[in-house]
Amino acid sequence: MLEKLNEIEQEALASLAVIEDEAALEAWRVANLGRSSPAMNVFSQMGTLSKEERPLVGQRANQVKVALEKAFAEKLEAVKQAALAKSLATEQLDVTLPGRPAPRGRLHPATQNLRRVLDILAEMGFQVYTARDVESDEYNFQLLNIPPHHPAREMQDTFYVESAQKEGSYSVVMRTHTSPGQIRAMREFSATNPQNPPPIRIALPGMCYRFEQITARSEVQFNQVEGLVVGESITFGDLKGTLSDFARRMFGQHARTRFRSDHFPFTEPSAEMDMECFVCGGKGCPVCKKSGWLEILGCGMVHPTVLQNGGYDPRRYSGFAFGMGPERQIMLRHKINDIRYFWGNDIRFLEQF
């Protein structure tokens, strides 16, 4: 019997050695460790053995069973390892195939940049004030120190709205700039305390309109963001400092600015803020039209007449205002040379933002 057990063990181990896959291994387990396997049969035949033989055979049978189970476990692990190694070696995806598209929404590039400008201004203490698109001639021009027939009106080609005429000209216009909002804001705030109006620090975003043909370089509508500060100790130095800070936030800490004299009827002194061209670093390139500078915004100290019209006494209050074109900033940044893309809404343009 002991010899038979040796045989059983040797045969089983020999047949296990050649097994390579899990199915054959399972068959081997049934054949060699199952209820009716030769090794298990030895246990069921114990009754037929003599008293002396029984412990010896029993011990040996247990040894064989443990040995086969151990061998099986080792083999199982080896087969699994081999299968894993094989699958790792053979299952190769083409990782360059495109992924399945996930739907993605986007804001219009003009909105994206408008938010960026307003966010920076908000951190600098400018709150957003919104005003209407269709304006009276009075708010768009006269209260901003641009009387009828003034040469400054030629700087802003105007869309007129069919309305009651005053002295032969229309009294309602599409706002040519966001500046009428300055008057609306000042009047609203000064009305809260006419003797002691509160200081102002606001940003005025909005669509503006100019009577032009629509070409690659000119549009009938464009966004403008204007800033207005009014207080009791606001100086031209503050204007320069605030706007240079803004430029560095908007275009990077290295942004260099310069302020040169310019003219707007509603500010005095007036200035144009240029920024050293970020494409060529000031050497001159097509983006800056070889000038080395980019016109970023117009600005100036609020004209006393405008303060007065807003309910702020110019002898006590001073302020500055500035205006910029967010779409122009996008065009400069992304080297876009056709302004019609913005309101054309071609999906192939919009999807790039």
Binding site: L97, G99, R100, P101, P103, R104, G105, R106, L107, H108, A110, T111, R115, Q127, R132, V134, H149, P151, E154, F159, V161, A164, M174, P198, P199, R201, E212, V220, G231, S233, T235, F236, G237, D238, K240, G241, R258, F259, R260, S261, D262, P265, P269, A271, G282, G284, K290, M301, H303, T305, Q308, P314, R315, F342, W343, G344, N345, D346, I347, L350
Partner: protein
């Protein structure tokens, strides 16, 4: 305004300043130099100067003054001549084809040599015969058997003007051998003149600025008119009709002029500044206008004198407004019909000129003219502006007058012009000047203190320094104690008084001091009260939600046409009368009104992109414009969106062709309103733009927030769509105020395990699903944590006119773990009420 550097040099010493330095000073000082055209002077060596530059430099050695001593015929060509020429060192024979040398051909040795601009072999010039400006280098060649290696130049070849018909005849003062660049090398700055700087539409004006900005002296013209003959006092009279329109009128006279071309240097300057040279007399008026800024007008005096009443009667020049319908033939030959706001200069016989804009043909200077009556007058700039626009007559004179020319300039302009006329025509200036000046403008007087400068500019500038800055611009200043008393010079109309005057003066101080020298500071003023902009914040939130739902924002033109918006109505449907806000001056018929529908804008964009993408999901948020009884229209805010095309984007292994339908759109509507935490209900709606069976209204508190659905098939036909379009048109004015101000309530989350269960009921087809769900929720109460419809099913087995609705229910308690018995109890109550109240049958 074009500024030739050579002309600028008449009035300010430019030693040690490059052309770029001057351009830079002007630009920083508020007179932006838009480009620089070189005509002779060396171009800047480096590129990083910040200006657009073009033109040509003249080589000192290769382009020089020379003199032609004889003009001989060419042996083989009639149209060519051979010039004997001396370049200061060597005699040459030079071949030319210049027509203006023909008259000298064959005259032998010329009595007076002709001074010319001479280019030697190797010189770089513009090709005089090429279209446009093409640079070419002069090479040795043979023309019709005669060797040629150099040339006599035209203005075009030197980059001075477009003139290339003949060669330049220089004035007598040119010395052979002088490098041409030293004699007349130049550069022209194109200077942008802002409306507040009308005083600088002249060389002297810009010279004053250059002098002030560089701290140099302004050299004003020094000259004296020699007068001769009978005085004009008493012989000429002026009658001004309305001083408000014509504050000043001055007249001078010059006799015995010879009409002929001006000296070459005058012609060259005029052409460089953009004016044609015509004759010495006309050129003198133009030259003086550019030099000093005062437009002038020359009349043929003898024409006027011949029309007076009698031999001893004076010539009476009067100004008045025209009779409505009165006619005048201006010197461009056009007969113009005038209106009663147009001002005329007249004599006793009738109208002579359209004041300040254009002369009349009758009294025009002709080649036979000998005596000139010269006008220098001042006009109301708004009136001139209107008249010039009315007759579409932009001219150099009206350009200046319509921006404001100070009446103080009249006399100086008149005298200077008479001087130039005498110089260039040999005429004699008559003694006496007639000057009617009924309305001198008040010169502004401003007083400032050092604190005003500190307050406006944030820097300390002592009053005596401010005084010297202002004096450079010819302000009259007096420092008394701690105050600077300033009087504006009689050339400026842009300086006010009081607080405005102080601001005007601050600008001048800052400009001349230099903006770049004012240090940057941070505001010390207190931060204003914080108010925020809740309406805008809510709108921005809507934008963010829609983008998170996969939609693309668009922004469209506010201008449209009723026809474009009427595409929202079914084809052939009657168009209801809708009032629009209309533009008085639209750029195109399809952009003549302000939009009333955002949906129309969005659908236009869907159409434009229909073939560019297999699916589209677009939204726009913005104002529409509604006429009102007030002066200004209402501008309510709206939101529209549209989807079309495939529900899922194709990938390389999935091609699901399912197209979006009503419920995709409703999912977006719900997604938006859920994210805004709005409680709404939906009801079938009727709207002309939508399919009658596939349109819903969003209802809150009994009011509609907007409609959405599938576009009506007859509306779809109005567009070039590829797939059916589903769209929503929402009223933000109604939606945004409903948003919770502080925050929506958040439900607690139970810690106990849920019991999940499905029930399916069969109901009448006509029963809206939301009634079933509402009843389930109501019955389930607090324990019913969620209800989700997961299947809608119809079949013969269920029966015609019936549908099966299957719901996944979640029961959950906050007090403990629910037993099956608890759940069964709720379920039984739900089923019983569905059966009793909605005639539903449980589907087994």
């Amino acid at each position: 305004m074009k500024l030739p550097i050579s002309w600028l040099k008449d009035f300010v010493d430019l030693k040690d300043l490059t052309v770029i330095d001057i351009a830079d000073k002007l630009t920083m000082g508020g007179m932006e130099v838009e480009d620089i055209r070189f005509a002779g002077l060396p171009l800047p060596e480096r590129d990083d100067h910040g200006f657009k530059v073009n033109g040509i430099a003249w080589d000192r050695d290769k382009i020089v003054v020379a003199e032609i001593t004889a003009v001989n015929p060419h042996p083989n060509a009639d149209r060519l001549t051979l010039c004997e020429l001396f370049d200061g060192q060597i005699h040459h024979t030079v071949l030319t084809g210049a027509p203006n040398l023909y008259p000298f051909k064959g005259l032998g040795q010329l009595e007076k040599p002709i001074k010319v601009a001479y280019a030697k072999e190797g010189a770089t010039l513009y090709d005089g015969h090429a279209e446009g400006l093409v640079l070419a280098t002069l090479k040795r060649t043979k023309i019709r058997g005669v060797e040629s290696y150099s040339m006599v130049c035209s203005e075009k070849e030197l980059g001075i003007s477009e003139e290339h018909e003949g060669v330049i005849f220089l004035d007598d003062d040119a010395v052979a051998g002088t490098p041409l660049v030293d004699y007349m090398g130049d550069a022209v700055l194109e200077v942008k003149i802002n409306p507040n700087m009308a005083r600088n539409t002249s060389i002297l004006g810009l010279a004053r600025e250059v002098a002030a900005l560089t701290g140099r002296a302004l050299k004003k013209p020094v000259y004296e008119n020699q007068v001769k003959g009978e005085s004009i006092e008493g012989r000429i009279k002026i009658e001004i009709g309305n001083p408000a329109l014509n504050p000043r009128f001055t007249i001078g006279l010059i006799r015995n002029v010879e009409i002929k071309p001006s000296p070459y240097w005058v012609q060259r300057r005029l052409r460089m500044i953009g004016m044609r040279a015509i004759s010495n007399i006309v050129d003198a008026t133009n030259y003086t206008m550019f030099e000093l800024g005062e437009p002038l007008h020359a009349f043929d005096y003898n024409v006027l004198a011949a029309r007076v009443a009698g031999p001893s009667a004076p010539v009476v020049i009067s100004t008045r407004t025209a009779q409505p319908g009165e006619k005048l033939t201006t010197l461009d030959g056009q007969e113009r019909t005038l209106s009663d706001s147009n001002v005329l200069v007249c004599d006793s016989a009738g109208a002579l000129s359209l004041a300040g804009i254009m002369g009349g043909a009758e009294s025009e200077v002709s080649p036979k003219t000998t005596d000139i009556l010269l006008e220098a007058a001042a006009w109301n700039f708004i009136n001139i502006r209107k008249t010039a626009n009315q007759h579409n007559l932009p001219s150099e004179a009206s350009y200046r007058f319509s921006r404001g020319v100070h009446p103080g300039l009249c006399l100086e302009g008149l005298k200077r012009c008479l001087y130039w006329m005498a110089q260039w025509s040999g005429g004699q200036v008559a003694p006496g000047i007639i000057d009617e000046y009924p309305l001198p403008p008040k010169q502004a007087v401003i007083e400032i203190r050092a604190s005003d400068i500190r307050r406006a500019l944030g820097i300390e500038i002592a009053l005596n320094e401010a005084k010297s800055l202002l004096e450079r611009l010819e302000f009259e200043c007096e420092l008394v104690n701690n105050e600077l008393r300033i009087i504006a010079p009689p050339i400026r109309m842009d300086i006010g008084e009081g607080v405005v005057g102080v601001a005007d003066i601050m600008e001048e101080i800052a400009r001349i001091y230099g903006y770049e020298r004012i240090p940057e500071t941070r505001m010390a003023d207190p931060l204003p009260p914080q108010r925020g902009n809740p309406a805008l914040e809510r709108e921005e939130r809507v934008r963010d939600i829609l983008a998170s739902l996969g939609m693309q924002e668009i922004i469209t033109h506010r201008f449209t046409s009723p026809e474009i918006e009427n595409r929202l109505l079914p084809k052939n449907a009657a168009v209801p009368p809708i009032d629009y806000v209309r533009l008085a001056n639209p750029i195109a018929p399809e952009k003549r009104v302000l939009r009333r529908s955002l949906l129309a804008s969005v659908l236009n964009v869907v159409e434009r992109n229909a073939r560019l993408s297999e699916s589209l999901s677009l939204f726009e948020l913005g104002s529409v414009f509604v006429p009102s009884d007030e002066l200004l229209p209402r501008e309510p805010r709206r939101l529209a969106f549209a989807i079309t095309g495939k529900r899922f984007e194709s990938a390389w292994d999935t091609r699901i062709g399912v197209k979006v339908d009503f419920y995709d759109l409703k999912g977006l509507v719900e997604g938006l309103l859920d994210a805004l935490h709005l409680e709404v209900s939906y009801a079938p709606a009727v709207h002309p733009s939508f399919h009658p069976g596939k349109c819903a209204a969003i209802i809150a508190n009994g009011a509609s927030l907007g409609v959405f659905g599938e576009l009506h098939p007859l509306v779809q036909e109005n567009y070039d769509f590829v797939s059916p379009v589903l769209a929503a048109d929402l009223d933000l004015e109604a939606i945004l105020p409903l948003l919770p101000a502080l925050g929506h309530p958040v439900r607690p989350v139970s810690e106990f395990p849920p019991v999940l269960e499905d029930i399916a009921v069969i109901v009448e087809e006509s029963l809206p699903a939301d009634r079933v769900e509402a009843l389930i929720r109501q019955t389930g109460g607090k324990t019913l944590a969620s209800v989700r419809l997961f299947d809608v099913f119809r079949s013969e087995q269920i029966g015609a006119g019936k549908k099966s609705l299957a719901y996944a229910l979640t029961y959950q308690s906050f007090d403990g773990t629910l037993t099956d018995k608890d759940a069964a109890g709720i379920r039984t109550r739900i089923i019983r009420r569905l059966e009793n109240e909605l005639d539903a049958k449980l589907r087994s």
